[in-house]
């Protein structure tokens, strides 16, 4: 590696990092938050006894898990305008990511709701709770603890998947890397550099996941 390349790598770090903190991370957080709400609705819908809810939830999950994320983004950003529905790049990205994350997280949440013993629901019923209240106060808090590891997986995947938004003109971190790399023809080093920054983000999140799990497990004694 010559001095000029090294110089480029050093100079690129800060702009890339800033782009990551100001775009990649917020994009991830916003999409995950919306995705979790969708996931919860889909999970409860799939567990519901109402056929329409079951079908809607299963259909949603099947479609968004069964098609590529990049294609979903392209349909929303490039496809919709041609049928008269124009959505800007960033809302398109958030929409695509959250729909996708929601479909994956729904299955994790559904499984963890099912993992809460039925005795808990019965106990809730005997102290007068209806199903929504029992879900909120008794089942979901316990399901959350069970769901954290699989949801963390989804979350960390999402951090990396936001790089796909570069394909629909969102100026997130990977797009910035492309812009820096192209004129200098430094694809190898700049892409390795941006990969390492993704790795850094994910490592921090994994650390946070551990802390969260310990917090949620505080009421379990061995």
């Amino acid at each position: 590696m010559d001095d000029r390349t090294w110089d480029l790598i050093v100079k690129a770090f800060w702009p890339l990092f800033v782009q990551g903190v100001s775009w990649t991370i917020p994009l991830t957080l916003a999409s995950f938050a919306v995705g979790l709400v969708l996931a919860l609705l889909a999970a409860v819908g799939k567990l519901s006894h109402v056929k329409v809810f079951q079908l809607a939830a299963s259909g949603y999950i099947a479609i968004f898990r069964g098609t590529p994320l990049l294609v979903q983004l392209f349909i929303i950003f490039y496809g919709f305008p041609t049928i008269g529905l124009k959505i800007d790049a960033i809302p398109s990205a958030i929409l695509g990511f959250s729909l996708n994350v929601g479909a994956y997280a729904a299955e994790s949440i559904r499984a963890s709701i099912l993992a809460v013993p039925t005795g808990q629901l019965e106990a809730a019923a005997t102290i007068g709770m209806d199903y929504p209240l029992a879900l909120r106060r008794v089942v979901l808090p316990q399901a959350l603890r069970i769901a954290v590891p699989p949801l963390s997986n989804t979350f960390i995947s999402l951090v990396k998947d936001t790089s796909l938004a570069s394909g629909i003109m969102v100026a997130e971190m990977f797009r910035k890397a492309q812009e820096i790399a192209a004129p200098a023809y430094a694809f190898f080093w700049i892409y390795v550099e941006v990969a390492l920054i993704y790795l850094l983000f994910c490592s921090v999140l994994t650390f946070g996941q551990g802390k969260l799990e310990r917090h949620l497990n505080r009421y379990i004694t061995a």
Binding site: A125, R137, P141, R145, T221
Partner: protein, 291 residues
């Protein structure tokens, strides 16, 4: 019999082809303790859970106080909820909320269902904990308690809703022998304080002491019922007699005799209820008033 609080009329329940309750009738007087006994699989749990519709019978009527539900007439959710509000239930496996502390378990219903003010609910919860002998555990999580302590928290949680009726499904059969006594003492004190209770138990000696009425269930019907003295010591029905023989002296029932037989362990004799050295504070009497 005094004023009737609970009326069960011709209750039927099947699971698939398996007919579990075949027309059960039962009356429970206000302020009395009814003990349900019977062989495993006879339908005791099913009957108890029908009283609060955790198990939904196909037909029959359950009335508690002024609330009557006719299960044959497809009762609505709100009817079921009203029926449920009449009773508190203590499960064999306690089913405490593991993610909430002891006191949070107790105030959960009062706060979120009955919308009681926080300070008042807490105060009542502490009083209940005092009554079951666990004030010092108020801020612990259930997982750090012994089985007997968990069960007593379960009792306090049910009492906190101020039910008219308390239901117990084998409250001590999952416990270590040394913690059984503490739980039985709490239940006995509830009986003394005039609570109306229906208790499923295999603890025949305990039943003798606390029951006003004993019903023997076999194959989904009440075969025999009456005073504990009559049913437990002088049963009329051969099936009751056979059941009691097996429960009270399992080895004799299997034909084991003489020095092959083990001594009945002390905990099984229920002496701890009358033992002056019992660790449980005997002066605590759970009053139905003020909670």
């Amino acid at each position: 019999m005094g004023e009737i609080l609970v009326t069960v009329d011709n209750l039927h329940k099947s699971f698939g082809q398996n007919k579990v309750l075949k027309g059960v009738d039962l009356k429970v007087a206000q302020g009395s303790v009814t003990v349900l006994i019977g062989p495993s699989g006879s339908g005791k749990t099913t009957l108890l859970r029908s009283l609060n519709s955790l198990t939904r019978p196909e037909a029959g009527i359950v009335g508690i106080g002024s609330v009557t539900v006719d299960f044959g007439k497809n009762p609505s959710k709100s009817e079921i909820r009203e029926l449920r509000a009449q009773s508190g239930m203590v499960f064999q496996a306690h089913h405490l909320f593991p993610h909430r502390t002891v006191i949070e378990n107790i105030v959960e219903g009062p706060l979120y269902v009955q919308k009681e003010p926080q300070a008042q609910a807490r105060e009542r919860a502490l009083k209940l904990l005092e009554q079951v002998g666990l004030v010092d555990k108020a801020d612990d999580y259930p997982s750090s308690l012994s089985g007997g302590q968990q069960q007593r928290v379960g009792i306090a949680r049910a009492l906190a809703m101020r039910p008219k009726l308390m239901l117990f499904d084998e409250p001590t059969s999952a416990l270590d022998p040394e913690t059984v006594g503490d739980v039985l003492v709490v239940i006995r004190d509830l009986a003394k304080a005039g609570w109306t209770m229906v208790i499923v138990t295999h603890e025949i000696r305990f039943a003798e002491q606390v029951a006003d009425h004993v019903a023997f269930l076999d194959s989904g019907v009440i075969v025999e019922e009456g005073s504990p003295k009559q049913v437990l010591t002088d049963p009329r029905e051969p099936r009751t007699r056979e059941f009691l023989r097996r429960v009270l002296d399992p080895l004799a029932a299997e034909g084991v005799q003489g020095d092959q037989r083990l001594d009945v362990p002390t905990w099984a004799k229920f002496d701890h209820l009358s033992d002056p050295q019992t660790p449980y504070p005997r002066e605590t009497v759970i009053s139905g008033e003020g909670i």
